[in-house]
């Protein structure tokens, strides 16, 4: 394992959003700790899955990683550069290599722009290709890469279906020839029969171009399918991470266990036969997370130390990390 090259490394990443009171004179009265001390690494050419329930901070992690939000604290190393320390022109240049695919293919494409303009934007912004003819050729090539008809480049987003729009989003991300793409719930808004199309496309592109993905999702079945390694988030922190088979077949953290047992299996016999852990209650507010282990109010095996002590993030097996007192 150790010979594998690490492309992205995140250390102690924090992102707090202020809560303010007052209209004219705004005072900060607290903060939402959306991401609170998160560390992970991604090997070159692999897919890391980031899973968790809504509000756990997975999207904020992805956005903070790309510096769409500036982090409150922490480092994001990409190709030997700490993205949190650079700005302006240098950041813009580095951003060519880190791109994003968004969740909602309806909201993330400008309805008044043609496909050519949407996909070609980063070619112009980064001055990668300047000639009009050369730009069009490149755009056509990109559309072919995502299996869209290149002759449709002068159409508008509303003329495409959800799955096709997500392909346009993928083509846009690929335009600047990136090494790393954050996929933020790229299939959640799509119909079941379309999801597999987009997932297969992402897999094909990875093997063709050697892309590295951070795949943010809440669909644990799809994450198991597409990811090499998986990290599970709960209330702003990562509670467990590991190789996909290790994590799915031998989950250690009680939250991971409950989460996996809650995923429905499309097989009536298997799904009715298995033991399910039903968690009580809801995820607490990230503005005021529980003391000690953040999961302890819902944890079926929580003890006294869990209420006061924050568990260490430790490696219990090669590349299998967990934060729990009881493991």
């Amino acid at each position: 394992m150790s010979e594998r090259e690490i492309l992205v490394s995140v250390k102690g990443l924090k992102k707090y959003f202020p809560i303010t009171r007052g209209i004219l004179i705004q005072r900060e009265i607290g903060s939402v700790k959306a991401v609170d001390d998160v560390s992970f690494y991604i090997f070159k050419g692999e897919t890391l899955g980031l899973v968790g329930e809504s509000g756990c901070g997975k999207t904020t992690t992805g956005r903070t990683l790309l510096q769409l939000y500036r982090p409150t604290a922490g480092e994001v190393w990409f190709n030997g550069i700490d993205l949190t320390k650079i700005k302006g022109q240098t950041l813009r240049q580095t951003r060519q290599k880190v791109q994003m695919i968004f969740q909602d293919p309806y909201a993330s494409l400008n309805p008044r722009w043609t496909i050519a303009r949407i996909v070609g934007e980063s070619l112009r912004v980064h001055k990668i290709i300047t000639g009009k003819k050369e730009q069009d050729d490149r755009i056509k090539q990109l559309l072919e890469l995502v299996q869209l008809n290149p002759s449709q480049l002068n159409r508008y987003p509303h003329e495409f279906s959800g799955g096709q729009r997500q392909r346009i989003g993928v083509a846009r991300a690929l335009a600047s020839d990136p090494e790393f793409i954050v996929c933020d719930e790229p299939i959640s808004a799509l119909d079941v029969s379309i999801q597999a199309q987009v997932v297969n496309l992402l897999e094909d592109l990875q093997s063709k171009i050697g892309l590295t993905y951070l795949f943010i999702a809440h669909d644990l079945s799809m994450v198991r399918h597409i990811c090499d390694r998986v990290a599970v988030m709960y209330l702003g922190i990562i509670v467990e991470s590991g190789q996909r088979d290790e994590l799915y077949d031998h989950p250690l953290h009680p939250y991971t266990k409950a989460l996996l047992s809650a995923v429905p299996i499309p097989d009536p016999r298997a799904t009715r036969a298995r033991h399910r852990i039903i968690l009580d209650g809801d995820v607490p507010s990230p503005a005021n997370p529980p003391k000690g282990c953040r999961f302890h109010p819902r944890c079926p095996i929580a003890g006294e130390e869990c209420k006061t002590l924050v568990p260490d993030w430790r490696e219990v097996a090669p590349d299998h990390w967990v934060a729990c007192h009881k493991v």
Binding site: G162, P266, T271
Partner: protein
Amino acid sequence: MEPLLDVKNLRVQFHTLEGIVQAVNGISFVVEKGKTLGIVGESGCGKSVTVLSVMRLIPEPPGKIYSGEVLFEGKDLLKLDMAAIQDIRGQKIAMIFQDPMTSLNPVLTIGKQISEAIIVHQKVGKEEAFKQTVNLLDLVGIPQPEARYNDYPHQFSGGMRQRVMIAMSLSCNPDLLIADEPTTALDVTIQAQIVELTKKLQEKFDMSVIWITHDLGVVAEIADRVIVMYAGYIVEEADVFNIFENPVHPYTLSLLKSLPRVDSRRYERLAIIPGSPPDCIHIPTGCPFMPRCGYAIEKCGLENPQLAYVEEDHKAACWVEVKNGRVE
């Protein structure tokens, strides 16, 4: 045994500026007493319109129920006047929706909204209604029901709101609960809670349930019988084990093959269904699934197959008989 709900040849269309949307095209199904019927399909396949028609909640215009019968305990709901329907809604048939926030009144407390239904339908006093409401909130697993009686919807989380909706729907002991994608907006751990709760309550009150979803995993968990819909047609119908273990229609088969499983180490490439679902304005002649089907023959483009028995208790609408991924 007499079915609780018997829908026959239901046809619903919407007149829009773009054309006539053929939302539901002559479908028939039954719901047995105490059983759960799962209706599966992608967005726009007509599954919601079907149950809204049963409840007579289709806005007319633009919608119109062109034909069909909806027999509930022997009465045709489509022929009742609005006052009679009002009595059935809530008392006999209750419905919960995908987004509980839009179904609850934001300026009234939860307790008020539930007790109001009880007062109207059961004609009891305020105190009795309060007692019943607290019991219901307790039953659906809302902690400290008496304290939360006076809370407003925004003070509840998504999962808790859905519990409130279920409490409200149970307030008049309905015989049939229609759940239209009730867990789609919820996280998996909360979804598991709601599914367990529904199963428990169904057993307790001997209710029938229609559970609409696009998630085949949830259907596998909760349904006794399953209907698969595509472009306003039922393409396959069978009991839950049969539909998952022995799917016959190419659409059902491809959907199942395109799903990865959380409990399996098999990482084959996912099977895909090319193209996207038709928009129900321009439904192709012949079988609506034909343009995306890997098994299509010439006949499929000419004539739409009727839903017919392929074996005992298992119906499908397909010219080609597909079994376990093979054409026989």
